[in-house]
């Protein structure tokens, strides 16, 4: 008889985040990246709150985007009340 190879222990359609947390390289989707103007930023955090991917890292006096995941949507730049964030083409980096 041909042997069958079974990989998982579950009988039903279970996933287990402790065994495997999936993650996509969404940083590669970006065509523009947010660039902070530290002078203008007053650390209000609205960019972090509105960021759909919640990828703004709190540096305690400002927020910086985690470019591994930032999709480059530009919401942070649009919502910044002090216009401290500019979206610059990825080609410039």
């Amino acid at each position: 008889m041909v042997k069958i190879k079974i990989h998982t222990k579950y009988e039903g359609a279970w996933s287990n985040a402790d065994e495997l947390l999936l993650c996509l390289d969404t940083g590669s989707w970006r065509t523009e990246r947010p660039v902070m103007d530290e002078e203008k930023c007053n650390y209000c955090g609205l960019c972090a709150l509105y960021c759909p991917t919640q990828c703004m890292i709190d540096m305690e006096d400002q927020f910086v985007p985690n470019l591994d995941f930032c999709k480059g949507c530009g919401i942070c730049a649009k919502e910044c009340p002090r216009k401290a964030i500019r979206m610059l083409p990825e080609g410039e980096f």
Binding site: T8, L22, C44, P52, N66
Partner: protein, 313 residues
Amino acid sequence: MMVKKKKLSKIFDYFRDEDPFAGGISICSGCPMELLLRFMSKVLGKDIIIVGTPSCSAIVLYGQNIGSWHKLSYYGCLMTGVASSATGITRYYRKIGKDVTVVCFTGDGCAADVGFQPLSGAAERNENFIYICYDNEGYMNTGVQRSSTTPFGAKTSTTPIGVARRGNETTGKNLPFIIAMHKVSYAATATLSHLEDLAKKLIKAKEKKNEGFAYIHVFSPCPTGWGFPMDLSIEVCRMAVRTNYFPLWEAERGKFRLTHKIKKSRPLKDLVRMIRKFSHLTDEEMGMLEKEVHERYRLIEGVTQMMPLKETP
């Protein structure tokens, strides 16, 4: 060195737990639903069971084989099954005497269309869970088809603009109002531009679900399906509130309250011209959309006066 004048927004104080989602998940850039998912999880905390349905959110709410996109416990059911599955989970936990926060997370196509019967049933029975509907006014995951919350005139892939027919021909269901009229423990509308309002409503829903059904209808525009630049998502939400296209209110057991009154509303055109799905509207069609928006607002304004809900301190 410039002095930091402002402190961190107080909205951060509403977060209970870390974001349980992986850094990169496959939701379109600029989608407010992704923000809703992450924001909701941080506010409600990690001790919840999410019940999802096939929709844009299912792609990340459900895992792939053994892997998961988040650390939350979830139950991934079919579109017809979200409210009933949540009932099953809640009832079992009630039977064994354990408190549990079960959260349905689904789109308008499920809530207003194919999953409407179980939703209405669970609302009528006042089941003890939270139901969050993110309303992007159509079936976005399958490629922007019309649903029963699609507004009048909107262009979708099943209501295209042609010589014989022009866009969606109905005005759509006023779903949050319909659910509120079930006299559920809690019903509210919210959107992603008004995050503190949303956070308060999430927390209230978590409290109120101990008494019965808690429903939050979240306006969640779709940059891909509606046709607007992805950086405008939050601005579209904001404009929908400012034009009274999507008024923010809450209701408890059939008593209503506006949570964000607009002193002087902006003309609906300011919203409509941001969105390509409305770009073909003639003056006459625009007038009909305005009429519906106006009527809906008058309805909610009327009930807040007739059946007022006192603000809880």
